[in-house]
Amino acid sequence: MDAEITLHVDGRERTFTVDTRTTLLDALRDRLGNTSPKKGCDHGQCGACTVLVEGRRINSCLALAVAHDGATLTTAAGLADETDLHPMQRAFLDQDGFQCGYCTPGQICSAVGMLQEANAGHPSAVSTGDGPTGTPLNDEEIRERMSGNLCRCGAYVNIVAAINQAQQAAPQVRQES
């Protein structure tokens, strides 16, 4: 069965027809030609497909496209305008936070979404109180919160360094609850 949906992807409105079985990830990659989000497992187990939906990070392989009709999506290709890089992307380059680059757009979207979650006061499994530990986040918090994004090249040391650079370059003011 097909359905017509509209997605706002990286600032562009796209209306198109999809098979209702199509995941958001496949809609982006196969239908819209946006291959910035990657497919590493198609089962929500690796994070390579991470995109921001209304600013929140999700595994786009676990979402059905039709369930997101009208949604606003940001992929790593749309984090900054074409001539610029998002501070998180700059930090991944500076810290060599990748090797093959296949997990990287997902890592970067995830990191951006993750800092927003921390900024909104969400605790993680390693937080000692009701909110995140440390302003900016300490390494243990970063590692925990980024553990949904696998990197087989093993760039984790540099990914943590990159997120540190990015959060220090653009310090987020923690909301008081």
């Binding site: 098979d19 196969d30 990657k38 690796c46 500076d94 990748f98 093959c100 680059g101 590692r143 087989r152």
Partner: protein, 693 residues
């Protein structure tokens, strides 16, 4: 006065492919825009051995969106069927569970997948065997082992030496069945354009793919073009083309010229893309009371697939690592009804340095000496195997430098004596080594495109190693210009021939060709070349390899915490110190060393493909159950190297760094876990249950 050029070899240069990669705009195999593609979903065998009796595709053929269903009954006949892994759909025989038995081609991936589920297959099953055990009576000695090494070696009389030794370690160690699992799944996009086959393939070597496929399809290699500018990791599993490349190219013969796209699912990769064989390693060491080795025996048992032999060279490092007059090594292989094993990062050295390096730790304890001192004591003057001098052997410096940085001097050797907040803490060390080989058969082409700008072409592939950057730097140095003046072009068989990105040979082998091309270019065109001037250069063998044994060395240090009540194990610190010749780019090199160590951490703690021998089934065939390290598993980890140029490793002076980072890492962690808990685990991975004695 010498001009200092920017970005040349040895300098810290940001990845030149990096901006595209952080945006996700660098195209991997699946992502090249092709017109009007069809999508493939395979049919896979659901038995481990036997034959297909009937295969009913009626319903699938009639399903919406389906263009073709292909089985052994109607698939194109292959011209070359010598390689049984690649000779798919040529007969009803099934060699292992998960083997390709057909494919559905459809207008969308969803339609292909849904239709594949409608195919009904009936089999006659034959008894299968899928369990590797040391007591099998059908173990055999292969003619040779991977990379052309002899199966067995023997010097002196190690049995007698060990029988007479004052101190003996005689233990069996095992390493598990492991899967490479690069993040980018194996992917092929195939299109026949007339009698030419064009492949966008996720591979470690474009020319090797065409060379392998040409006889399979009975066409000249020049009729196959393989394109792979960006590859999302391989770790050996994309070193040789696996059956999916053949399947996709065959399907493209049924698509009326339309391109066919196929990316393996993560689950399919566990059956169809190679893996590391499990090993059972019997290690015997004999030494005098001071720790001086007199005998080393390393006997390895491993598996291969019944349909195709891949015999890993696991015992090879024991042949050259330590001085002992009497040494023997052997490999025995079981042919099982299992998927075809292949290369996985440092085949041979990686598992082969686990048993012996844990055994060395056991010997050090038995002799009452420090494990670093034991290794220093047994340092050979020349390569024990070949009798040649080492071109460069700085193992002792690596161990000493690591000890200094890691704080080894303060270590109390007593195991199970540091309990803090419920965690036992310990530290361990192991040696690392990897051979430095140069592959012949590489050519590079250099052209002066416009004033001061050079294009450099070679069919090399960057699988994440940093080849885009390192080869640019090598070209800049060789031509005497800035890195920014080089337009590197790689990953395409339209460029001059190149060997595989494997065996830690890429940068050195391709780099040698680029240096030769630059030399030819300058010889012919001088320092003021005309626009359009060009030259090719080919790299021959490294003549020094005749006279010297060329190996890299390293020292791995680990600190481990094991929870006293739950057995939970964490690696709190890791340090690697490596001697690998000249480092072309310190930034990307550090990443590669750390990446190898991280994969070694996975080998130590997590990785284990579980075979259910009743069904020949790899039961944990996804990332939910086959665990690789996550971000939270890696804490304080650092890699450093000795500042050196190996004058015997060719003009570049480098020895290759892709694999040494994983070698010895698991042994260092296992040794640290023993120091923490007093429990000696000889079987990987080191799961919590092992520490609940």
């Amino acid at each position: 006065m010498t001009v200092q050029h920017t970005g040349t070899a040895g300098q810290d240069l940001e990845r030149i492919d990096g901006v595209a990669k952080v945006r996700g705009l660098a195209p991997y195999a699946y992502e090249h825009q092709v017109d009007n593609p069809l999508y493939l979903h395979p049919l896979q065998a659901t038995i481990s051995r036997g034959r297909i009796e009937t295969i009913d595709t009626t319903q699938a053929q009639a399903a919406p969106g389906v263009v073709a269903v292909m089985t052994h009954l109607d698939a194109p006949r292959l011209a070359g069927t010598d390689d049984a892994e690649l000779a798919i759909l040529q007969s009803p025989a099934v060699g292992f569970r998960g083997q390709f038995i057909g494919a559905v081609l459809a207008e969308t991936p969803e339609a292909a997948r849904a239709a594949a589920a409608l195919v009904r297959v009936e089999y006659t099953e034959e008894p299968h065997e899928a369990e590797l055990r040391a007591d099998r009576d059908d173990l055999y000695a292969p003619e040779q082992v991977n990379a052309g090494f002899p199966t067995d070696t023997r010097d002196g009389d190690p049995e007698s030496a060990i029988a007479a030794a004052q101190v003996v370690v005689d233990q069996t160690y095992t390493t598990p069945f492991e899967h490479n699992n690069p993040m980018e799944p194996h992917t092929t996009v195939a299109q026949w354009v007339g009698d030419e086959l064009v492949l966008h393939d996720s591979t470690q070597g474009v020319h090797p793919v065409r060379q392998t496929l040409a006889p399979v399809f009975g066409i000249a290699p020049e009729k196959i073009r393989v394109i792979a500018p960006n590859v999302g990791g391989g770790f050996g599993s994309k070193g040789v083309p696996h059956a999916h490349v053949v399947l996709t190219a065959m399907a493209a013969q049924r698509s009326n010229g339309r391109p066919v796209k196929y990316a393996l699912t993560r689950q399919q990769m566990f059956f169809l893309a190679g893996y590391r064989t499990p090993t059972i390693q019997h290690v015997r060491l004999g030494a005098d009371a001071s720790g001086q080795l007199s005998g080393i025996i390393h006997d390895v048992i491993e598996q291969t697939s019944r349909i195709k032999e891949f015999a890993e060279q696991t015992a090879v490092p024991a042949r050259m690592m330590y001085a002992a007059e009497n040494r023997a090594t052997s490999h025995r292989v079981a042919k099982l009804d299992v998927p075809v094993p292949s290369w996985m990062r440092a085949p041979g050295e990686c598992p082969g340095m686990f048993g012996p390096e844990v055994a060395m730790d056991e010997l050090a304890e038995a002799c009452g000496i420090d494990p670093i001192e034991l290794r220093v004591l047994n340092e050979p003057d020349i390569d024990p195997e070949s009798g040649k001098p080492f071109a460069s052997r700085h193992l002792v410096e690596c161990l000493r430098e690591g000890a200094r940085r890691f704080g080894w001097a303060d270590r109390d050797p007593q195991p199970r004596s540091r309990l803090v907040d419920g965690w036992y803490t310990g530290t361990g060390v192991a040696s690392s080594t990897y051979p430095a080989r140069r592959q012949t058969g590489n050519t590079a082409r250099i052209r002066h495109d416009r004033a001061g700008r050079y294009s450099v072409q070679i069919g090399a592939v960057d699988i994440g190693t940093g080849a885009w950057t390192a080869l640019t730097q090598i070209a800049a140095e060789a031509l005497g210009c800035n890195a920014a003046d080089i337009d590197l072009q790689i990953g395409d068989t339209d460029f001059p021939v190149a060997t595989v990105a494997g065996g830690s040979t890429g940068t050195t082998s391709w780099g040698a060709a680029i240096i030769a091309a630059a030399q030819a270019f300058r010889d012919r065109h001088g320092d003021q070349p005309a626009v359009g001037a060009h030259a090719e250069g080919e790299a021959g063998e490294n003549p020094a390899a005749q006279e010297y044994a060329l190996h890299s060395f390293g020292a791995q240090f680990a600190e481990v915490q094991v929870h006293a009540d739950t057995g939970e194990i964490r690696v709190s610190r890791m340090l690697g110190v490596f001697s690998a010749g000249r480092i072309i780019n310190p930034r990307t090199a550090r990443s590669q060393f750390l990446g190898g160590m991280t994969m070694g951490l996975g080998m130590a703690l997590h990785e284990n493909s579980v075979m259910d021998p009743r069904f020949g089934m790899i039961v944990n065939h996804d990332f939910a159950e086959y665990h690789i390290p996550t971000n939270a598993d890696v804490r304080d980890m650092e890699a450093v190297w000795l500042d050196e140029v190996d004058e015997h490793a060719g003009k570049l002076g480098a020895r290759g760094i892709g694999e040494i980072g994983i070698v010895g890492a698991a042994a260092a962690i296992a040794n640290a876990a023993y120091h923490a808990t007093g429990i000696r685990v000889r079987d990987l991975p080191l799961t919590a249950d092992r520490f609940l004695a």
